[in-house]
Symmetry: C2
Subunit: 190 residues, 2 copies
């Protein structure tokens, strides 16, 4: 039997992992984040859904791996929200700066943001569901939208447009400037 795959060698975990990631990238780019189902990715890759879950956890973990995000947003945001409403504005901005001030993270995140437009519907849906959605679970959609607006704007001003002096201000000086905005959006009078 003629085959491209060397005989006598069984596909290893890393082949399978890569095949799942390739299938996931295609699904996410094609139908977005929300409409991609883990079982469809598994089927495209010719594996059982259980194996996808074994490697990547839930759908957000699969997306994080497929897009090579430097971390799983849920891992950062969920613990901050779990500590309660008091001081959450401060924790959110400090958490965001902690991630983005790290040069390796920033390089990866900017590359993803400015990647081919095909990826952006999926990214937008992922951000909406897995980042904004986690704050919305605690304070409702509109307040979470407003929080997201200030945090995305901080990313734009500090890391993309690189406005001076904001771009070079130490994180611990940025936190008290922005935290009151977030706290009002979270639980203040609107």
């Amino acid at each position: 039997v003629s085959s491209a795959r060397p005989r006598g060698r069984r596909p290893g975990a890393s082949d399978t992992r890569e095949r799942i990631l390739a299938a996931a990238r295609e699904r996410f780019a094609g139908v977005g984040y929300d409409r991609t189902r883990v079982r469809d990715v598994a089927s495209d890759a010719g594996v059982d859904s259980a194996l996808v879950h074994y490697f990547f956890g839930t759908k957000d973990g699969l997306f994080v791996a497929a897009m090579e995000l430097p971390f799983r947003p849920a891992d950062v945001i969920a613990p901050l929200v779990a500590q309660g409403m008091e001081g959450l504005g401060e924790r959110l901005v400090a958490g965001l700066l902690g991630v983005w001030d790290e040069p390796a993270n920033r390089t990866k995140l900017l590359a993803i943001l400015f990647a081919q437009p095909g990826g952006s519907d999926a990214l937008r849906e992922f951000v909406t569901r897995e980042i904004v959605g986690r704050v919305a679970g605690a304070v409702g959609d509109l307040r979470a939208n407003l929080v997201a607006s200030q945090l995305m704007g901080l990313i734009a001003a500090r890391y993309i447009v690189r406005l001076e002096p904001l771009a070079n201000l130490p994180a611990d000086e940025v936190v008290p400037l922005v935290a009151p905005t977030l706290q009002r959006y979270l639980d203040g009078a609107l």
Copy 2:
């Protein structure tokens, strides 16, 4: 004499205008906004600087025409700032929503934002100097940076990521949500 240009016809104003715009686009893409000089664009286009000023006013007008921005930011921002600090937060967010809620403007602005990366250094410098700079003239750089962060974030959340319900809230309901943030950044306790 053989020539591609039809004999007996002299180049009109619109040929000259287009030649200046082509030269401007090349300069802006090559060296950015700050380092582009009107006289260099004129020289590239083979015309006198006075003619560039006659057609486009100052450098920001040339950039607006070259990028086909739907309006000149200075024309929107300067009058708002000139009315003084009181209520400026409200006027700025209402002004921004007035521009971006207009579908024709939004389509053009999004196309420019997502255009080829070559244009983005120039756009970043233009935003820094002609938009943020005009607010900075009134309140200083850091406060203007913070104002810009919330306004850019509002653009991202409402028009790019299109978070619900913020994306479909009437402008007059968005204004009171965001104006207090801007007013604190402008003249509040930081």
